[in-house]
């Protein structure tokens, strides 16, 4: 469902993403790992059509994001890294706006908003203004926005960042559940999350894939049988570079 082919992004002379290729099939949850600045967010921004790639292409449900961005974007639900929201709106107002912009109207809109609020446990704050929300609720509101139109592809940039352990657990369960009939790509720093929620994981470093496999395969490659060791072995620290 997500096909990334030789995707590259250069910022001036700096290569952020270097001919990255991978696929995510339906029913698969791909964990996207890597140190800060490895090009994870840049890759996700290119797949979602926010920034154009320097070269290469990404296809979502067979639709090229560079050739037909409007059609490809309808297939994607995207949670950006910092969970940006319009602070002057209420939670329900924001979700209604997102539903409208995705061409939902009438009862389809009402149902979609209601379902997203329920899935993300937002019922208690639905009529609250977004700028009064705590970080966990903000994050979940943005996640609700990504699930609203029941997309076939979910791209989540650090979906559990800033959540408390209970919320992290809930989001992981949610990703697992949604992953059964969607293609999900999510980035994370938390390695235990990979074992908990992913069917497959790739580790990127400086824009290239340095490890790829199921969590079990990755652990087998690790010198001491832990993902952390593998992560430290295959990636470079920013102080070393």
């Amino acid at each position: 469902m997500i096909e990334v082919a030789k995707l590259s992004k250069h910022f001036g002379s700096k290569v952020a993403v270097d001919k990255l290729s991978f696929t995510v099939a339906k029913g698969e949850v791909l964990g996207f790992l890597g140190p800060n600045g490895a090009g994870k967010s840049t890759t996700m921004r290119m797949i979602t059509g926010f920034i154009p790639p320097t070269s290469g292409d990404a296809k979502v449900c067979g639709i090229s994001i560079t050739e037909n961005p409007a059609a490809a974007k309808t297939k994607i639900g995207y949670l950006p890294e910092s969970a940006p929201l319009y602070n002057d709106m209420t939670v329900i107002g924001f979700l209604r706006f997102c539903a409208e912009i995705r061409s939902l109207s009438g009862s389809a809109k009402r149902d979609a908003v209601e379902k997203a609020i329920e899935t993300c446990f937002l019922t208690s704050v639905a009529h609250q203004s977004i700028d009064t929300l705590s970080k966990g609720y903000r994050h979940r509101t943005c996640l609700a926005q990504a699930l609203l139109h029941d997309p076939e592809v979910l791209i989540l940039d650090e979906p559990t960042d800033g959540l408390d352990p209970n919320q992290k657990y809930e989001v992981r369960q949610l990703i697992k559940r949604l992953g059964q009939d969607k293609a999900i790509l999510f980035s994370t720093h938390i390695l235990e999350e990979v074992e908990a929620a992913c069917t497959r994981a790739v580790i990127v470093d400086r824009g290239i894939i340095v490890a790829d496999g199921t969590p079990a395969e990755l652990i087998a490659q690790a010198p001491n049988g832990s993902l952390t060791d593998l992560f430290r072995k295959v990636t470079t620290t920013d102080t070393a570079a």
Partner: protein, 243 residues
């Protein structure tokens, strides 16, 4: 269609915060205040609004329009919501149009709320109402031009204050360019061709004929193409920033 959704959201956001109310109230106080004080509306005994009322509009808009428009893209870039907007299935162009129309609507509302002056002038004398309507149209076009300039500046920066300062400067330049005192000084220093070129860049050349009740095609073409160019520029800047 998606322009309409964005237009509604922006408009709601203006009225969810004190922004729109503050702007409308201040515009009304200043525009009507100037009319009755410096404009000597009562003293001249002239049943027209050209000098007493419309004369002040470009001066007010050069402050009001940037205040309305400064958040349009600056805020979006600061909060990161531009990333949401950029990944929704809407084109940049429809977002630009929606935002521009929302900001223009706020200023249009402020302008329309000056209607008591029309009632007053009709009560006191028998003015040429056609000229008044044309003055209102001209005034709104000047305002839209300034909103479009602000939008262009807003796309360049994530800082609303920077946007405000820069767009106020640009708008005041356009107001000064065709202002009589300024052109007289310029005429002494340079050739008449230069003066003409500078004057045609200013808003007075196009606004004063409309505020007198004169419809000239060239003025409409000037306003519309200026606005169009600013919106196109906005689109170019936004796409260049993402690349």
């Amino acid at each position: 269609m998606s322009s309409l959704v964005i237009f509604r959201r922006e408009l709601k956001s203006y009225f969810a915060q004190p922004t729109a109310y503050a702007i409308i109230v201040i515009f009304l106080i200043l525009s009507l205040g100037f009319t009755f004080t410096f404009g000597e509306f009562m003293g001249t005994g002239d049943a027209s609004l050209e000098y007493s009322f419309f004369f002040w509009h470009p001066w007010l808009y050069m402050l009001i329009a940037p205040a309305v428009g400064m958040k349009l893209w600056a805020d979006e870039q600061r909060n990161g919501t531009i990333e949401l907007l950029g990944t929704f299935p809407v084109s940049t162009w429809s977002a630009i149009v929606g935002k521009f129309l929302a900001a223009s609507t706020v200023t249009l509302l402020a302008l329309l709320l000056t209607f008591p002056i029309i009632i007053t002038v009709n009560y006191l004398g028998s003015p040429d109402n056609g000229a008044i309507i044309s003055g209102y149209i001209g005034s709104f076009l000047v305002c839209c031009t300034f909103v479009a300039i602000t939008m262009l500046v807003s796309a360049c920066t994530r800082d609303q204050v920077v946007c405000l300062i820069v767009s106020v400067s640009l708008c005041s330049l356009m107001v000064l360019c065709g202002y009589d005192a300024f052109t007289r000084a310029l005429a002494k220093a340079t050739s008449s061709a230069t003066v003409e070129a500078v004057v045609s860049f200013g808003v007075w050349d196009h606004f004063s004929s409309l505020s007198r009740g004169q419809f000239r095609l060239q003025d409409f073409v000037w306003f519309v193409s200026f606005i169009g160019l600013c919106l196109l520029g906005t689109s170019t800047i936004l796409s260049a920033k993402r690349a």
